[in-house]
Structure formats: structure tokens, C-alpha cells
């Protein structure tokens, strides 16, 4: 049998490389469709630069120099036999990817300063753990760029403002950062729970497929309304004008405290990088977002 550590490590390395160099197919298609649809000349120039950039990147070059801070979402089956190997494998794969893809060293010590040089350090890579039923391991590499991260917010609203207040917060935020988050964006919104829960739910929405609608029609309607409102602003690609400001808006919620209406807003740039794989208990690897050629 193969060495479980090595399999997790090598899989993670491929996830990191693919996420930096190739967008998931549906995001690429959404950008192509936006380029077809736009009539604004500047917007077309921006989108066609983005599409050309993606072609160059697919030869193995990171699409954006900001290859993000290293975040993983890991779902571990309660019967997956190699749980103890995961953390080290992810960290070492991050080091290898930094040197060999390469990725930009983006781990800076906020207290004493200094860049670690290899994208690892205190609490980084950050791993979001979830224990699920089953015997396999799902890893999502989710490197997050700084420009779009800088406009993520948490609002602690008064419950009296209701869902209109929630939608207004998302729209006002978009009208304040304009193109600074490298529009067209994808926006995740988390409602309820608490301050930490709301932003966590918001971030998780960024992993939903663009075509996905929330199963509850009331929530799906909020997604649609916010998306339509933000695209009516005319902010456009890179904030230079146009009708494509967001490619998707994804909302989810948790129950809230009677006194609180927390809203988390997570913003993703057009370079919405992520890559997912599943490793079975007998160490068979299935790449989900970036399948191996010939499969």
C-alpha cells in the first residue's frame, strides 16, 4: 500500500498548483459569458484581459501574483484511517508548492513583522476541520487573495431592520468598495448565528457552484435580488463601468439570538480559486474541480 502521508501530500500539492493556475470550469465559463454579454467598451477590455490572462495561466503560471493566504476546508470521515497525517501533509505540501509552483510567500507575522517565506507559520495554513460520517477525506484548497479579503465585513444589525437591512448592508458594501476587490466578484452572505458564525457561513458560500440556488425559495430569492441590485449599480469589471459586477451571490443562515442579527459578507475576486479532491480509505484520489486528463 502507498504511504498515506505521501498520498495526502501529493494530492494537496496538485490542488494548490491547479487552484493557482486554472479556474474551475464554471467560473471560466461565467467570465466568457460576461464578455459576450457586455456592451460597455471598458468592461470588454477588462474581461478580455482576464480571459487572455487565464489562457497564459493554464500553461502553469499563477493567474494572479497574489496567490493568497493558505486556507483549507477539510471534511474527514469519522472512519478515515489516516487523520493524524493530514495536518503535516497539508503544511509540507504548502511549502513545496510555494517553492515549486511557485506561490508568493504571503505569511507575515503581524506582531514582530517579517515574512516566513514559505506560506506557513503561526496558525497558517489555516485548516477548517469538519468531521462527517464516512471513511474518506475531502480536501478543498482555498487560497484567498488579499484585495477581496480586505472588503469582507461583519455587520451586527438591529433585528428591526429585517431582511431589507441585510440586503442593504450587502449592496452598500459593494457600492463602497466599487472595483477594489477585482470585480466581477462572487459574494457570500451568512445571516444569523453570531459574529464568527455569520462570516464563517458567508465564506463557505464561496465554495458553492455558481449555478447553485439555495434550496429554500425565500433564501434563493434574496440571492437573486441582491445579485440583480448590485449588477444594476453599473460598477462593472474592475470598477471601471459595465453590467457585470457580480457573477454570483450565495446566501445561507443559522438561527439567530433574539437580540442579534449578525450578517457576514465574504467577497471573492474574479480569480475565485479553489480545488477539491476526495481521498478514499484505500488511498484512491478523485480530483473533483480539476479532473485528471483522460478521466
Amino acid at each position: 500500500m502507498e504511504d498515506p502521508y505521501q498520498v495526502i501530500h501529493d494530492t494537496t500539492f496538485r490542488l494548490l498548483k491547479k487552484s493557482a493556475t486554472e479556474l474551475p470550469k464554471e467560473i471560466k465559463e461565467a467570465l466568457e459569458a460576461a464578455n459576450e454579454r457586455e456592451t460597455n467598451e471598458t468592461a470588454k477590455t477588462q474581461l478580455s484581459a482576464i480571459l487572455t490572462n487565464m489562457e497564459i495561466a493554464e500553461t502553469g503560471v499563477p493567474m494572479c501574483q497574489d496567490t493568497g493566504i493558505m486556507i483549507f476546508y477539510v471534511k474527514v470521515g469519522d472512519k478515515f484511517p489516516f487523520i493524524g497525517e493530514i495536518k503535516n501533509a497539508l503544511t509540507e505540501a504548502t511549502r513545496k508548492a510555494t517553492a515549486e509552483v511557485p506561490l508568493r510567500p504571503n505569511a507575515v507575522n503581524p506582531i514582530v513583522g517579517g515574512n516566513s517565506g514559505d506560506n506557513t507559520g503561526v496558525k497558517i495554513p489555516w485548516i477548517n476541520w469538519e468531521i462527517v460520517e464516512g471513511d474518506s477525506l475531502e480536501i478543498v484548497a482555498f487560497p484567498k487573495g488579499g484585495g477581496s479579503e480586505n472588503v469582507c465585513i461583519v455587520g451586527m444589525l438591529k433585528p428591526g431592520v429585517g431582511l431589507t437591512g441585510v440586503k442593504k448592508l450587502v449592496v452598500d458594501n459593494a457600492m463602497s468598495y466599487m472595483g477594489k476587490a477585482c470585480a466581477p466578484n462572487i459574494i457570500g452572505v451568512g445571516i444569523g448565528g453570531g459574529s464568527d458564525i455569520a462570516i464563517k457561513i458567508a465564506k463557505q458560500q464561496l465554495m458553492r457552484p455558481l449555478s447553485d440556488k439555495h434550496p429554500e425559495p425565500e433564501v434563493a430569492k434574496i440571492e437573486e435580488e441582491i445579485m440583480e441590485a448590485i449588477n444594476a449599480t453599473g460598477i462593472g469589471p474592475m470598477g471601471l463601468g459595465g453590467s457585470t459586477t457580480v457573477l454570483g451571490v450565495k446566501v445561507d443562515y443559522a438561527m439567530r439570538h433574539p437580540a442579534s442579527l449578525p450578517v457576514g459578507i465574504a467577497v471573492q475576486c474574479w480569480a475565485a480559486r479553489q480545488s477539491k479532491a476526495v481521498i478514499s480509505k484505500d488511498l484512491k484520489v478523485t480530483y473533483v474541480t480539476h479532473p485528471m486528463e483522460g478521466n
Partner: protein, 202 residues
């Protein structure tokens, strides 16, 4: 809209000819990267009467933290799209007055302090499509020096020779015009329509 192909160093006259909406392609040895920390250091050196290792006058200052690597002992830019320029709003006006860079490259636009300094000094701010690092790297042909390495790869001062680096869209010029301000006004004018879609009021 006019398309210009400029070679560094760029004169004040050339910079003053540029207007918002123009497109520039830059060639030459005087392309310098500078983000928050490089701006800060350059200004500190000026205060202390020290000379910076490069002469910024007539140069292109690119707001970017490049991703680069060393191949056969030589540094090469792999991916280098713009960073968000407004962070440099804290320093840019003083930097322009003291060092007279002529073309700034970044994304997202800058504020009123920078706009006033562009007018005073004779310089422009240009926007390059954010996230297009692989495309930008094609125009950044050669790294001739990697200075201030203690700041780390993103924040260091990279000296680059460019070849037809662009298209750079002039979005703030030396005549007091800003496409970013124009966009703010356009979006503000649509606010009522935007709010009507979510049932919100001012």
C-alpha cells in the same frame, strides 16, 4: 482615446499630454515596484537626506507585489498584476512631489490627495486589470535588481525592464480628471434604482 507607446524615462511634458481614457504601453529600464513599505522607506530616506538606490524621476512606479523566482541564478517575474492602490494614498502625494515618478500603475484608483499631486507634479495614474498577473509578466521582461529584500518578496523594490508593458488605462490625469470619481458619481446616481430592487430606502 489615444494609444501611446512610451519609453522611460518619461518627461513631464509627455506625462501632461496624457488624458483619462488613453491607453499606454511602456518600454524601458525604469519600472520600479513599490507598495506600502517601499513608499514608506523612500520617504524616510528623503527625510534623512539619504539617496535611494534608484532615481524615481521619470519612472513608472508599479503598485505590485510580484511573484518571482530564481532560475539559473537570475530572478524572473512569474506573475505580477497590480495591488489595490488606495493603500498608498497615505504616501503617494509626498512621494510624487519628492521623487517625480511620471506614471503610476495600480488598480482601483486613488484619492484626492494623489489627484492633486498628479496635477502639481505632472504625472498620471493608470489602471491595469487586477488579477492579470500572468499577462502582466509577459511585458515585464527582465529583473535588473531586487532591492530592499529585507521587506520580503511582495514589498521589496524590484527594478524591471519592460517591453510594451500594457495596456495601461489612464484613469487619473494631470488635469484633475479621475475616471474613478466619475464612476463614483455614476453609481451614486443609480442608488435609488439599485435600492428599489431590494425594497430599501436611503
Amino acid at each position: 482615446m489615444v494609444e501611446y507607446h512610451l519609453t522611460t524615462p518619461i518627461s513631464e511634458d509627455d506625462a501632461r499630454k496624457l488624458k483619462i481614457g488613453d491607453i499606454i504601453y511602456v518600454t524601458g529600464e525604469h519600472v520600479y515596484t513599490a507598495r506600502d513599505e517601499a513608499h514608506e522607506r523612500a520617504l524616510e530616506m528623503y527625510e534623512k537626506g539619504e539617496k535611494t538606490p534608484v532615481d524615481f524621476e521619470g519612472s513608472v512606479v508599479y503598485h505590485v507585489g510580484p511573484l518571482a523566482w530564481q532560475k539559473d541564478g537570475k530572478w524572473k517575474v512569474v506573475s505580477a498584476g497590480p495591488t489595490t492602490s488606495v493603500r498608498m494614498e497615505l504616501f503617494e502625494d509626498e512621494f510624487l512631489r519628492k521623487y517625480k515618478a511620471r506614471i503610476l500603475v495600480g488598480k482601483g484608483g486613488m484619492g484626492q490627495k494623489t489627484l492633486a499631486a498628479l496635477k502639481e507634479v505632472g504625472a498620471v495614474y493608470t489602471s491595469y486589470t487586477g488579477g492579470c498577473g500572468a499577462l502582466a509578466a509577459k511585458g515585464l521582461k527582465e529583473v535588473t535588481a531586487y532591492l530592499w529584500q529585507d521587506l520580503g518578496m511582495p514589498e521589496a523594490l524590484w527594478v524591471i525592464t519592460a517591453e510594451e508593458f500594457g495596456p495601461l488605462l489612464v484613469t487619473m490625469d494631470s488635469h484633475g480628471n479621475s475616471m474613478h470619481d466619475d464612476m463614483d458619481k455614476k453609481v451614486a446616481a443609480r442608488k435609488a434604482e439599485v435600492y428599489s430592487k431590494i425594497g430599501a430606502k436611503e
